[in-house]
């Protein structure tokens, strides 16, 4: 079973996941403001981000881009990500 690396995820993700960087019309539930005045060390590039899916069933996830946090709910997107994990032999616990 091949390890699911970040690089392989991006290379092998289905077409629908390729729109992650765009996120059209995603309902943003909350945006946490960046700590006033603090400068982010090791500034990340504008093309990278982290998605944390906290609840697959509810579609609750956090998108981290640079120093910003965006909380959103999209069950369809969460299900797609879970499907990708399962297809790589990494089924999520119920």
């Amino acid at each position: 079973m091949a390890d699911l690396t970040r690089r392989s995820f991006l290379q092998n993700a289905p077409a629908t996941a390729a729109t992650l960087s765009v996120l059209p019309a995603m309902p943003a539930l909350a945006a946490t403001p960046y700590s006033a005045g603090a400068t982010a060390p090791r500034a990340t590039s504008a093309t990278s981000m982290v998605i944390h899916v906290g609840d697959v069933a509810a579609g609750e996830m956090t998108l981290l881009v640079g120093a910003q946090e965006i909380v959103l709910r999209d069950p369809g997107l969460a299900a797609s990500l879970a499907e990708i994990a399962a297809s790589a032999g990494l089924p999520l616990q119920a």
Binding site: T5, R6, T32, P33, Y34, S35, A36, G37, A38, T39, A40, P41, R42, T44, S48, M49, V50, H52, T62, L64, V65, G66, A67, Q68, E69
Partner: protein, 455 residues
């Protein structure tokens, strides 16, 4: 042990571990206040080849509440950057370090200071040099001069220092956490042994210090100069914190990317609060919370565990304490609101009804000519819990308070046990090998690795 490795998660993250906070009217500069926050507990002096340093990936902050609502009004942020002059050597220094710009000094750290006030962030200084660690007589022969050169006067009026110092907290760590087996009194312990002198468990260990000295008027809510101890504007609440980015991704080639906002992982106001007041199951959570929400921890202050343990481990020594079952309103005042006027003659450090663990300093009370290390318990109104000076014996003060000596402040019907006013771990500032300084940054010269090997 004021807050050294006091919670499960932060004990695994020493670079972000806030160990002590001090706040006092500067004894040699009476119009100013000095704020100190220490991090990185128990630094062994012989810390090579990668000597201790602040974390480039940590946001260090000192916060001030000056209007009594438990919310932060002013924050000083410190952020660090490490640079290598020569990445092709394994050495921290390749020769004697004679100055902060000496080419022999390879691995250096500098920092920026930002002040946030009323939501406005102002960068006060950038590329400020930290001194090297104190290595030994060949590498850092004139260490005090290096440290002195790392004191920066900012154009905005603050004086800052960030670097290694000798740990100024003194406590018999080994005996305290051997179930309060205090050496001067261990003949009375449930596991009795002959009484003996205390041993400073942090002696000959270093910390990393952030220190700020600034005019009092820069801390008050209206820019006034505090002269009246009864004026609420004279009191500020202080705490420090450390934060990390919400997500860190470790790549396969030692590349590290960080994402998301800062998340608080450590905080400290009063010494020993998270150490001995908050139970293990909630220490990590406590570290993540702002002080303004400390009402959720009220029950631990009202019914602290330490008195119960004193009664258990010293049978028959604290009978009055054992019989006292009222909520500890004295500790709530000392730790969560400040002491209101009318309780202790000539003193108040009350910040209002918002329950918050803050170090509360009444800036209108001048320094003592002869400080009593027992602070207010010893009749010295300039000492802890009026802020905290480097000399204050905060362990003994808090132990005696927990043992009941402060209950009469709120309940005159209570008579403290005789033992409550003498219980101690037996230490004083003389238990610290590197003495305190009479001037900024007040903490002693850090122990050199060559002269203080771990063995």
């Amino acid at each position: 042990m004021s807050s050294h490795r006091e919670a499960p998660e932060i004990s695994k993250d020493p670079v972000a571990d806030n160990t002590d906070v001090y706040a006092f009217v500067s004894p040699d500069n009476l119009d100013t206040v000095t704020l100190i926050a220490n991090y990185i507990p128990a630094e062994a002096p012989d810390g090579g080849p990668n000597f201790y340093e602040f974390g480039d990936d940590v946001l260090y902050e000192i916060h001030i509440d000056n209007d009594g609502d438990g919310d932060v009004d002013i924050t000083y942020q410190f952020q660090f950057q490490t640079t290598l002059q020569n990445p092709d050597t394994f050495l921290y220094n390749t020769g004697r370090i004679s100055s902060l710009t000496d080419p022999n000094w390879n691995k250096r750290q500098s920092y920026s200071v930002t002040r946030v006030r009323n939501g406005q962030a102002t960068v006060l200084g950038e590329d400020l040099a930290s001194p090297p660690c104190n290595i030994g007589p060949f590498s850092t022969p004139n260490y005090d001069a290096l440290a002195q050169a790392a004191i920066h006067q900012l154009p905005s009026g603050e004086t800052v220092f960030a670097g290694q110092r000798a740990d100024g907290f003194y406590v018999d760590l080994g005996s305290v956490f051997d179930l309060l087996d205090l050496r001067p009194f261990q003949n009375l312990h449930i596991f009795p042994m002959p009484a003996g002198p205390g041993v400073n468990g942090l002696n000959r260990l270093n910390v990393h210090t952030m220190a700020i000295q600034l005019p009092k008027s820069m801390l008050t809510r209206d820019g006034s100069n505090p002269t009246n101890p009864n004026d609420p504007r004279s009191v500020v609440g202080v705490y420090a914190s450390a934060s990390r980015r919400q997500a860190i991704i470790f790549g396969p080639n030692a590349d590290i990317d960080e994402y998301g906002p800062w998340v608080q992982v450590s905080r400290l106001g009063d010494p020993l609060f998270n150490e001995v007041i908050i139970p293990l199951g909630r220490k990590d959570f406590w570290n993540s919370q702002p002080p303004r929400g400390d009402k959720q921890f009220l029950k631990y202050v009202q019914t602290p565990e330490v008195p119960q343990r004193l009664v258990e481990y010293y049978p028959g020594v604290f009978p009055n304490l054992a019989a006292y079952n009222k909520p500890r309103a004295d500790l709530v005042a000392i730790l969560l609101t400040g002491i209101p006027a009318g309780i202790i003659p000539g003193f108040q450090n009350f910040t209002g009804q918002t329950l918050a663990d803050l170090l509360r300093l009444n800036m209108a009370i001048p320094p003592s000519a002869s400080p009593d290390i027992l602070g207010i318990l010893g009749g010295d109104l300039a000492g802890f819990p009026n802020g905290r000076r480097v000399v204050d014996d905060v362990f003994t003060i808090e132990l005696r308070a927990l043992a009941g000596v402060t209950i009469p402040l709120v309940d005159p019907s209570f008579t403290p046990d005789a033992a409550s006013s003498v219980v101690t771990d037996g230490l004083t500032p003389s238990s610290i090998k590197s003495p305190f300084l009479a001037s900024f940054p007040y903490l002693g010269t850090p122990y050199s690795g060559f002269d203080n090997p771990s063995s």
